[in-house]
Subunit: 127 residues, 2 copies
DNA sequence: GAAATAGTACGCCGATCGTCAAACTATACT
DNA sequence: AGTATAGTTTGACGATCGGCGTACTATTTC
C-alpha cells in the first residue's frame, strides 16, 4: 500500500499505517496549552525544538514506560502540537511550527523561552 | 488587623482573611499553562486583561455555579496567574502581569493574543 | 441585632489524567 | 522463516478534574 511520492534514498519509506492529525484550523488553544502543561510532553516539545528536525519517539527517552510515551506523543499529535509519520519501524516526530505560528503567533517561542528560563532558575533539572 | 497603606476613600479596606499566593519565584510554567487550559479560567484571565483593573469574582459571571467559580479562581491564584485580596464582602482579582512578565516574558501577551485570534476564527463565541 | 451580600468549605459525582504491565502488530534484517 | 526493533493496544490503578448543591462564614447595611 505504498503511496509515497518522494523517494529519499536508502531510508525506509512511509508506510500504510495512518495517523490522524487535526487540520490547522481545527487546532484549539486550550488543547495546545493542556498538551504543554505536562512536564514529559514539554520535554518532548523542547527536544524537538532544539533539534529542529524529525526525531523518532525512542530517541527522546522519557523516564516513563513505552506505553506512557506512546500516550504522550498521541496527546501532542491530537492537540496539533506535533506531526507524526511512520517510517519503517520508526515513527518520526516534528513540531508543527508553521501551523502553530500561523494560528498563535509567538506563542510557541515564548513558551519555549519560558521553559528555558525556568530551567535556568530551577537549576537545570528540566522538571 | 487593618494594615492597609493607601486608603482610597469610602470603599472598604482589606480585611484579616488571608489568601495564599505563591511567591514570584515559586510560580511554575506548567501550572500556569494548566490554569490557562480551561475555558472558564481563560475567560476570567481575558476579562481581567481587558479591564486591566481589579474586578470582583461576581462581576465576571461564568456560566457555572458559585462554588465552581470559587474553584476556578483558586486554581488561578494558586498557579500564580492572579492576585486576590478581600475588600469588605468582596474579593478583588487582578492579573499578576509583572510577575508573569518577569518570569515568562511575552507569554501572557501571546496567550491573550492567541485567544483573541481564535475567538475571531471561531465566530466570537468565546468558548 | 437582623437581613442582605459575597464568597468558602465540604462532600459527592462522573470524567479524564498519567502511569504501568502484558500482549500484540508492523517493519526490517539476516 | 526467524529474530530483532519500534511502537500500539488494552485494561487496570489511583489521582486529579470540573461540576454541583448545601450549609457555612465574613462583612456591610439597616
Amino acid at each position: 500500500m505504498q503511496t509515497q511520492t518522494t523517494p529519499t534514498g536508502p531510508q525506509p519509506q512511509a508506510t500504510g499505517r495512518s495517523l490522524e492529525h487535526p487540520r490547522r484550523e481545527a487546532i484549539r488553544l486550550e488543547d495546545v496549552l493542556h498538551a504543554l502543561s505536562d512536564p514529559m510532553r514539554m520535554r518532548v516539545v523542547r527536544t524537538l525544538a532544539e533539534e529542529s528536525a524529525e526525531l523518532t519517539c525512542s530517541v527522546i527517552d522519557l523516564p516513563v514506560s513505552k506505553s506512557t510515551t506512546t500516550h504522550h506523543f498521541r496527546v501532542l499529535r491530537e492537540s496539533g502540537v506535533i506531526h507524526q509519520i511512520y517510517r519503517g519501524t520508526a515513527k518520526m516526530n516534528a513540531l508543527r511550527r508553521e501551523d502553530l505560528e500561523a494560528l498563535f503567533p509567538g506563542l510557541l517561542d515564548s513558551v519555549l523561552a519560558a521553559a528555558a528560563l525556568q530551567e535556568g532558575r530551577l537549576g537545570g533539572d528540566r522538571g
